[in-house]
């Protein structure tokens, strides 16, 4: 029975008919659809299965397309970070940081960012990397049936979100990074709470490793599942933990250091097997490396210092000076009403996000709004390799593969 409806055409009841492929022997076309407990978001994988084996898998994305890049083109330069932060909602600060680094490069003030601002930016990036890996480990464990790590991970993430709330004001999208540095300095009780998180991290990580790392069931379900060779990883342009689990140690923090990352010593965890278990180990080691960086940043945060470039043409003047000096008031009003202008040009700025190389290709034509903000979405390319990996595997293994690739659909669908 072949029904060659055009793929995705709307049917009369308003649903979406998918392309029903030729059915020779007892194959079945199944839509692991947008609403599915273990697709880590709104992913639809149209799988042609023979019993439990998958013979053809074609992921369909776009179910969370938010038109973020179009919205960014209609907002001021500093307003655009509101929508851009909502792209990768597991590590919003990494998105904002990458976008603002690109804008600062266009403005030519990237060398002037005060050191304390860079330290806090590195601290926030590493904290959001740990928080994002916690969500991945929690939900990935549930896919395999391990419920306990979910509670351990989200409790650790809760402590980190408290830090974001204390510094930036909001748990998930604090909008704390601005052009030229930060919105304002860290609150005074912040460093004490940071020490509490650093102290709590080590025992919690030992529990998490104890729960899963040598667990035979977990190992059976993840070893030799979704093997990606180094050559395939480069051909499918995978980056981040997925690439490093296949043996190539490409980390943007080492290759193109930004925000003072070359000042910290940390190493890049690499494995060569390239299967789901290797990706699991790489991400766990990466969380330890992030904590190592956080300890080094913690020492540097004691010294007070400015967190914003003094040039009030780009960064709003401190609130208390507005009532005093006429010029500060004018600058403040000009920035709020029509924002600053960025000289024309285009730039590609990359940052090492939890999912891989997150890049922003920002184009400006001298206007007070970005002309084009193109995002290089690491999780879209990491997810695309599912087409090749899922052939011949069991459906249960495909769920493990999706979890190990760690896609975030705000970023895949933009």
């Amino acid at each position: 029975m072949t029904t060659a409806t055009t793929p995705g055409a709307r049917t009369e009841t308003g649903g979406y008919a998918v392309d029903v492929v030729e059915r020779s022997d007892n194959r079945m076309v199944l839509s692991m659809g947008p609403q599915h407990p273990s697709t880590h978001g709104v992913l639809q994988v149209i799988t042609e299965i023979q019993g439990e084996n998958i013979t053809k898998a074609s992921p369909e994305i776009g179910y969370l397309h938010t038109g973020i890049e179009k919205s960014a083109e209609n907002l001021f330069w500093s307003q655009a970070s509101t929508v851009i932060e909502r792209m990768d909602y597991l590590s919003p600060l990494t998105n904002a940081l990458c976008y603002y680094l690109a804008v600062e490069k266009l403005l030519g003030i990237d060398a002037q960012i005060p050191p304390r601002a860079n330290h806090v930016r590195v601290l926030l990036s590493e904290l959001s990397r740990i928080a994002s890996h916690c969500v991945w480990l929690g939900t990935g464990g549930i896919d395999i049936g391990a419920l306990t790590p979910f509670f351990y991970c989200f409790d650790l993430r809760e402590r980190i979100l408290d830090l974001f709330e204390a510094s930036g004001g909001a748990r998930m999208h604090p909008n704390y990074i601005r052009v030229g540095g930060l919105r304002d300095d860290l609150p005074d009780g912040f460093l004490g709470r940071l020490d509490a998180v650093i102290a709590m991290y080590e025992p919690r990580m030992r529990d998490l490793r104890g729960l899963l790392q040598k667990n035979p069931i977990f190992q059976d379900r993840t070893i030799d599942i979704g093997i990606i060779s180094a050559e395939d990883a480069v051909a499918w342009s995978l980056t981040g933990p997925v690439l490093r689990a296949s043996g190539i140690a490409y980390d943007v923090r080492k290759a193109f250091p930004y925000s003072g990352y070359d000042g910290y010593e940390f190493d890049v965890p690499v494995r060569t097997e390239g299967d789901a278990y290797a990706r699991f180990l790489v991400r766990l080691d990466e969380m330890d490396e992030s904590m190592r960086i956080i300890r080094q940043v913690r020492k540097k945060l004691d010294a007070p210092g400015p967190v914003q470039i003094p040039d009030t043409k780009f960064a709003p003047p401190p609130k208390e000076t507005i009532a005093l000096s006429m010029e500060a008031l004018i600058h403040h009003f000009k920035l709020v009403s029509e924002s600053f202008r960025v000289p024309p040009g285009d730039v590609y700025q990359a940052v090492e996000g939890p999912r891989g190389e997150l890049g922003y290709y920002v184009v400006s034509n001298g206007d007070n709004r970005p002309w084009r903000v193109r995002t290089r979405p690491p999780s879209m390319y990491n997810l695309q390799v599912l087409k090749k990996l899922a052939i011949g595997e069991l459906i249960a293994d495909m769920v493990v593969m999706i979890g190990s690739l760690d896609p975030v659909f705000g970023e895949v669908d933009r």
């Binding site: 609403q35 599915h36 969370l64 929508v83 909502r86 809760e158 998930m172 705000g410």
Partner: protein
């Protein structure tokens, strides 16, 4: 529930017992869309623990769920699917529109986002915030429970 005069039996209407049972086990449907889905998951995590309200069982299929939490922005491609899931849920059913994007399109006033999920399906409780804190979601589930107990939809005759 009025205490019986005999003292040893509780006399109450069957309807309020049904409403008490329905209110204390409002099972949500796993339909996480965007950032609010992460806050919904955090609501089930130990810190906020939606299990205290009896709603920690997130059913994957709409047939077994009676509360749909639209958590996140609804894209135009996802709209018909949300409508279809709502139709396939068994009555009586309730809807929480979690977050600004689900309630009104939020910061995304553009071509790709449905400007408020109430243009597609009837909504019972709107939760403000972008994303709302898990406390906001717990309070929304409380409001749903109050709606059930105070005689809205539900009860033994399941007036839809």
């Amino acid at each position: 529930m009025a205490l019986g005069s005999g003292g040893d039996f509780l006399l109450t209407t069957v309807d309020s017992v049904a409403r008490w049972a329905q209110a204390s086990s409002v099972w949500p449907l796993t339909m996480g869309l965007a950032c609010c889905a992460i806050e919904m998951m955090t609501a089930t995590a130990p810190e906020y623990d939606i299990a205290r309200l009896g709603s920690e069982v997130f059913r994957a299929s709409p047939r077994q769920a009676d509360l749909m939490i639209v958590s996140g922005r609804v894209a135009r491609k996802m709209g018909p699917i949300v409508k279809r899931l709502y139709d396939q849920m068994a009555d009586p059913k309730w809807v929480i529109s979690m977050g600004a994007c689900a309630s009104s399109g939020g910061v995304f006033d553009n071509y790709a986002i449905v400007q408020g999920v109430d243009t597609i399906i009837p909504v019972d409780v709107y939760v403000p915030g972008c994303p709302p804190t898990p406390d906001g979601l717990l309070y929304a589930v409380n409001l749903i429970q109050q709606q059930i107990k105070q005689g809205g939809r539900g009860g033994i005759l399941a007036r839809a």
